[in-house]
């Protein structure tokens, strides 16, 4: 009796032990989420703001600008970055390589659309050629805000791209007061030249108009050359050479931006011409020396940072279903050597 009882008990115990051993295979499940203790010496070198993770969704807005090389756009980016901070969004900054890199801008817009960006704030290099790409993005629900250079309204309307808010300065007025400032100093008959921006760009057109208007108001001035240097410093340097070789008596030059003005000044410096009055536009920090030295008589501060800031804010407002004015004009300020 005893023997059998012991046998049976042993049998059952064996089974239990086997079962327990079998079940134990799974016991290390309990290990918890203390993963950083596993192989981390400690979480050092924390990110200042932490890496934004895609799961913690923030509004993604892209700022698309024209060129890497114009400090004007650095200012614009700074303003936009401030808006990024203030509005707690994610800002992606994209630029074409050069002022003329229209195709690159188109490619950037297409890529952003592909990446399902929520809003694009664009300073278009060209007022018409970018419309189809923007229309496509807009059709996919991307909010578009136009800054700096206005898109061609007629083309936009035809393409079905309506109600795009526009933020910029009054380019014609800015050019007018800039040109007017140098024009007023001309009392003897003098030849004048205008360096315009990209001719397909609305702001270039507006600035040329403003400058022409100012020059024509002074009967002593005769505009002998209107050339484009496509907003570029080095191109302006070359174009200046061509103009001055043809018209050595030119005494007044209006440049549609400071970069081109710097190119012209460089040429004049080389030729030691100190009698030519140069007017610029943009008030880059790099022109301060020239202003001080009188090489550049005047420029226009168009508050690039404000434009950048307002552009991003308008985009975010639209995304948050707020009303945004169709057109916001930022004040322009006349800057001369006295203002420094």
């Amino acid at each position: 009796m005893k023997k059998i009882a012991i046998t049976v008990a042993t049998c059952l115990l064996t089974i239990l032990v086997i079962l327990a051993a079998f079940e134990a295979c799974n016991d290390d499940r309990s290990a918890g989420p203390h993963q950083d203790r596993l192989y981390m010496a400690g979480r050092q070198a924390q990110d200042p703001q932490g890496q934004p993770s895609p799961s913690a969704h923030r509004t993604r807005v892209a700022l698309v600008m024209k060129t890497l090389t114009n400090p004007f756009f650095i200012e614009m980016e700074k303003g936009a970055r401030r808006a990024e901070q203030d509005l707690d969004i994610e800002l992606i900054v994209k630029t074409g390589a050069k002022e003329t890199s229209v195709d690159q801008q188109i490619a950037i817009i297409e890529e952003l659309t592909e990446q399902k960006i929520e809003a694009i704030v664009i300073a278009p290099a060209d007022s018409t050629r970018l419309i189809p790409a923007l229309r496509k993005a807009w059709g996919k629900g991307v909010v578009i805000v136009n800054i700096d250079n206005r898109l061609d309204r007629e083309h936009a309307r035809k393409a079905g791209l309506n109600n795009i808010p526009f933020i910029s300065v009054d380019n014609q007025r800015g050019a007018y007061i800039s040109a007017k400032h140098v024009s007023d100093q001309i009392t003897r008959p003098t030849e004048a030249a205008i360096l315009e921006g990209i001719r397909e760009a609305d702001n270039a057109v507006q600035r040329k108009k403003g400058a022409l208007r100012a020059f024509r108001e002074n009967p002593n001035l005769s505009v002998v050359a209107i050339e484009t240097a496509n907003w570029k410093i080095d191109e302006a340097y070359k174009v200046a050479g061509q103009i001055f070789r043809s018209h050595p008596r030119i005494g007044v030059v209006f440049c549609s931006n400071d970069m081109m003005a710097l190119g012209v000044i460089e040429y004049l410096d080389e030729k030691k011409r100190r009698d030519v009055l140069v007017a610029g536009f943009d008030n880059l920090s790099e022109v301060q020396d020239a202003l001080r030295a009188g090489k550049l008589r005047v420029t226009i501060d168009q508050q690039a940072a404000v434009q950048g800031y307002e552009g991003v804010r308008a985009a975010v407002d639209l995304l948050r279903k707020k009303d945004v004015p169709a057109e916001t004009l930022v004040d322009v300020r006349l800057i001369t050597g006295k203002d420094i």
């Binding site: 049976v8 079998f22 890496q51 895609p54 890497l68 090389t69 710097l262």
Partner: protein, 645 residues
Amino acid sequence: MKRCIPSCILLKVFAYLTLTGIIPLILFGIISYNVSLHAMNESIHDLTRMTLSAKMNFLELVMDEVESLMANVAGHDDITAVLKEDREEKSPFKKLSTQAKIGYILSGYLNLRGLVSIDIFSMSGTHYHVGDTLNVENTKLDRKESLFEAARASSRPVYWAGIEENVNAHSAHPRVITAVRILKTMNMQSLVEEPLGLLIVNYDARYFHDTFMQDTPRSQTYMVIDSQSRIVFHPDRSFIGTTVNPDFTANLLIQKPMIPFRNRIGDQDYSAMYGRSGKSGWLLLSLTPQREIASALAGIRHNTLAIAAACLVLCLAFSLLLYRNIVRPVKKMTDLFRKIQDGTIRPGVRLEEMSRDEIGDLVLWFNTFLRNLEEKKEADRKLKLQQKELEELNRTLEERVQEELQKNREKDALLITQSRQAAMGQMIGNIAHQWRQPLNAVGALIQLLPEAMSHGTLTSRYLDFQTKKAMDLIQFMSRTIDDFRNFFRPRKEKQSFRLQEVIASAISFLEGSLKNRGVILNLKVQDDPSLYGFPNEYAQVILNILQNALDVLIEREIEHPEVTVSAFTENGKAVVVIGDNGGGIAEEDLDRVFDPYFSTKEEGKGTGIGLYMSKTIIEQSMAGKLSAHNTPDGAEFRIEVPYES
């Protein structure tokens, strides 16, 4: 000890079932678990090896792209020319136009996806930059310097710094994957390579994370660790940029690359494998938690356990069934056997018959056995009782025999008395028959006397004659009375007598009756032996038989009734045969005619004692034999008595 036997069977059966059913099942489960685990480990190792190779290839590809980009930039004549002319440039035009020139060039390389920025620093510190921001203010020069030093120390043209703080403070990517290359030129005078500047390429850690993450098996963790033990890639982004314990990487490097090994991290076991990038010296590590493998195999374990549990339940159920159907009946049977042995079994106890199987048969036969046992016991009990009675009987037998004998004697005496009285009655009837004729004759003689007187013929002589005739008749009658008296006087002493005399004496009593009834008596006496015994009783026997014959002949109204009496000797015995033609005795009555109180006569006519008495007299008093049988005509009685020689 006896009591435990049934439960022992149950335990044995349960143990056998468990041993043969559940343990093999569990063993099978364990074996298949282990085999599966092994196979799974193998395939996971293969998968890991493949994935690790693919990831390594991907990493090297990205590095290749970046490195070739950097080689192109480093070899760009315009860039080297600008860097060679490197001097403190005051002119904004020069500065801006150079920036623009280099910017245009670098911008062409920015198309590589995942690039955050390309930066070139000249030896004097001029910064050329393209990337996700235009703003290059507040560049982290100390970072730049340390990268420059590290790159200089590196033997490879491109130094992969790892996950680094971005030198560009305004970039949206504070942590980037950084590759550094020192741009050099050959000094034509000294023929020594001189540094021209520093090329830094920042790659997007997030983009790298997203692309590297693709096609990663769900259960595995892949990590990329740079040469300074910082995590370049981790599935959890928040780990990127953090530093792992240097001991951890040191321990990894003890193991061989691309060979799986076990690694315990915290309290979890991992199957680990690593590879090392030749370009950067970075580690690519794969971790597969063992519990993932275990949980993938949980199905086998759970199913095995479930089946084992089910089997256990079935075993229990089967054991219970076994207990109910086999063990319990057997146990009861054993109990009953013990009770039978002890003698404490109650009568009428039966086992419940449940099934029709062998156990059912056993129970059936056991019940039959019980019933038989009970019957046998009952029979034994009765036998004992009877034995007891018998003993009692034996004890009182003598008394009873004596008693019975006495009773019989008394009965016999009564019977004899009765038969004598009956015989007397018959005798009186016979006397009446014998006396009728003489009385009539005496009466006629007396009547003749007055007639003779009147006729005058009464003479003395006539008177004398008549008187003498009457006196003769009276004398005859008186003698008859004497004869009767003698006949019925019982003799106490045995005496010798002659057979013929006795027969004649008996017949004489019946002569009158026979004549009156017209019965013919044939008397055939051949011998006359001398007998010793009681003559009157012997005569009474003959008389009895004759009387019966007479009664039958009268009763049956036989035509020509006849009675034959033969007397002769045969084998030393005197034989008297008395036969009639009255039709005989019914066959069924033949054996009983000598029984007392048996009679075939009408009620009131026969006593049933006559023949019984006759048999008693012949066989007991005279050592003879009286028998009866039928002849063709009627009955025949035979009296055999030994005679004196």
